[in-house]
């Protein structure tokens, strides 16, 4: 099975947001692979290997695609070090792209690469938009399974457990399809591919860390550098950020001595009981 994994690099979310000239100031920011996309790479690996034997399924291939500035190459290498086979880096600055430009580029890459499956994070933790996977599926005319907490692969079709309001919905989709993953996709037995024994449990500690061997190997893996124009896309976003503001801080609260005092204040001061 050939799996394409679109990934985005994002500013490390533990950094405090700062504003400069009406936009987020990213000077000196440190960057990471978007956590959900990292989980998507992990998902693709689990679909493509025998987890117990720590061996790849013959003929499986994982292609990572990222659209971002020059220095996003570092985060792309991280996904190769985790075990993806090769990568395509479409160089573009944030101001040149929006979700529709990204979808156009991805659709063109998919037309050329013809993967059996696209696996990606459900949202990027900077923009929090949660759009690209669904838009891509719509543009391609492929079925979609969003917010995946589990995947069972059988005979080239998938049963995906989706986290929805009020429970977990199980949806069947044939391939090719777009799957977007939620946090719990990295649970020890969340991905079943019919090759890894069902009894085998992954660590459950999130995505795997690149091994030293993986880091060395990643340096030699193919990383194609492309431009938007290579895919017929122009840097003409239709969604434009006008300004960014920080929410006003909450007024300072108070530590109260004990539960009776708390209840008294909730009843009389906050009037919420």
């Amino acid at each position: 099975m050939k799996i394409l994994v679109p990934v985005k690099r994002v500013p490390d979310p533990t950094q405090k947001a700062k504003i400069k000239d009406g936009h987020i100031d990213l000077t000196g920011a440190s960057w990471i692979v978007n956590t959900f996309d990292e989980y998507a790479v992990e998902t693709a690996l689990r679909l493509s290997e025998n987890g117990e034997a720590a061996s790849r399924i013959a003929g499986s291939e994982i292609v990572v695609v990222s659209i971002g500035p020059d220095d996003a190459a570092k985060e792309i290498r991280t996904t190769l070090a985790m075990g993806a086979d090769r990568a395509i880096h479409v160089v573009a600055n944030d101001s040149e792209i929006d979700s529709l430009v990204v979808v156009k580029v991805l659709a063109a890459i998919i037309a050329a690469e013809k993967p059996d499956l696209v696996v990606m994070g459900k949202q990027a933790v900077d923009g929090d938009a949660n759009q690209v996977g669904q838009m891509l599926a719509g543009k391609l005319g492929w079925p979609q399974a969003t917010f995946a907490a589990s995947i069972e692969l059988k005979d080239k079709s998938l049963v995906v457990g989706r986290e929805v309001d009020g429970g977990v919905e199980y949806k069947r989709v044939p391939t090719p399809a777009v799957v977007t993953v939620d946090l719990r996709i990295v649970a020890p037995k969340a991905v079943q591919n019919g090759t890894t024994p069902a009894s085998f449990a992954y660590s459950g500690e999130g995505a795997r860390l690149p091994s030293l061997k993986g880091i060395m190997a990643a340096k030699k893996k193919p990383l194609d550098v492309k431009k938007l124009a290579d895919y017929g896309a122009s840097p003409a976003p239709v969604i434009k950020e006008l300004s960014v503001t920080l929410p006003p801080p909450r007024p300072p609260g108070q530590i109260v001595a004990d539960i009776p005092t708390l209840v008294k204040k909730l009843a009389e001061e906050a009037k919420v009981l």
């Binding site: 599926a137 719509g138 005319g141 969003t146 960014v244 609260g253 530590i255 109260v256 906050a270 919420v272």
Partner: protein, 322 residues
């Protein structure tokens, strides 16, 4: 001039409360675009719920078909896109529920429309304010496509009130239905008599410090005393203590109740993003240095084992004295 097509979820013969936030937004958008609000109901029972929707919208369109028994983005999005065009809509909106988040971007792709997700405010005709970076900042975006798609954050819009006179209801054909091979299999539903997390007035949440799912029982007693919904931090849901759909946070539910209890929750950014819009926040944690105390209006430094039974007893006393 353009209309606003507001996709509304319903349950039985009534609109879901989440849909009323969308209608509230749709009214603002219809004013700005010089058109009218058209509520769209799709699926089994849509015709029966049409009358309820007509209390809120001047025009209601319902779509029913034997092949639409279960919601699928693959079958719903083409209906939304087609009806948007047929009804001269310049804005297509849904509430940012799990269904709205699933179907609207797909609809946007079919319409070549730009989309603003999870918005908190409309600004003029084509600009929208929406939270980014886990709610640590608000971005104002302008969308320049002829049709604009939007999902609306429920907690940021007051539910729409009823109109003076009821609107008209009409049925539209589903058109060609092609699920592209996708099919609903089944749902493991979390049954609960408690209110929905999204619109509860009071929420009681527990975190990693609760240690086991069994320990959540005492929080459920507190919730039931207050008519509250149950919530949890990601640490608690990831550990399997409680169902995943209890998760409050950037990647779970966004809530803004009048009263929010955070019990044994440290207060990671991820969690704060989901609850810091709450009116009054109470934190109970044994470690006084946890970040949750920085957003709490009232904090008590205590072990939950001792504090929660005492809290239940004290609230009972207050209630009994009224």
């Amino acid at each position: 001039m353009g209309n606003v097509l507001a996709f509304c979820e319903f349950s039985g013969s009534t609109l879901r409360s989440s849909a009323l936030a969308n209608i509230a937004f749709a009214r603002d958008a219809a004013t700005a675009h010089g058109g009218e609000v058209i509520a769209l109901l799709i699926g089994p029972g849509a015709a029966a719920a049409g009358a309820a929707a007509a209390k809120y919208a001047p025009k209601v369109i319902t779509v029913e078909d034997g092949k639409l028994e279960h919601y699928l983005a693959e079958t719903y999005a083409p209906i939304l896109a087609r009806l948007a065009k047929e009804n001269n809509a310049t804005v297509v909106s849904a509430t940012a529920t799990s269904l709205g988040k699933d179907v609207m971007p797909r609809t946007a792709a079919l319409l070549d429309a730009g989309m603003a997700s999870d918005i908190s405010k409309m600004d003029g005709k084509t600009a929208f304010v929406r939270p980014i970076l886990a709610g640590n900042a608000y971005s104002k975006v302008e969308i320049s496509t002829p049709i604009i798609t939007v999902t609306v954050r429920q907690s940021e819009f007051e539910p729409a009130g009823e109109l003076g006179s009821a609107g008209t209801v009409s049925a539209a054909p589903a058109g060609e239905i092609n699920a592209l091979g996708a099919a609903f299999d089944h749902i493991d539903a979390q049954k609960s008599d408690r209110p929905d997390l999204g619109d509860a007035k009071v929420v009681v949440s527990g975190g990693r410090g609760m240690k086991t799912g069994e320990n959540f029982k005492v929080l459920e007693q507190l919730a039931d005393l207050l008519g509250a919904a149950m919530g949890a931090s990601r640490a608690a849901t990831d550990a399997g203590m409680v169902p995943a759909d209890w998760q409050v946070g950037q990647t779970g539910k966004i809530v803004a109740p009048n009263l929010y209890f955070a019990v044994a929750i440290s207060g990671a950014i991820q969690h704060l993003a989901g609850m810091k819009g709450s009116k009054t926040i109470v934190a109970i944690n044994k470690n006084k240095d946890e970040p949750i105390f920085q957003v709490a209006d009232y904090g008590v430094v205590a072990d939950w084992e001792k504090a929660i039974p005492e809290l239940i007893a004290e609230i009972k006393k207050v209630k009994a004295s009224r």
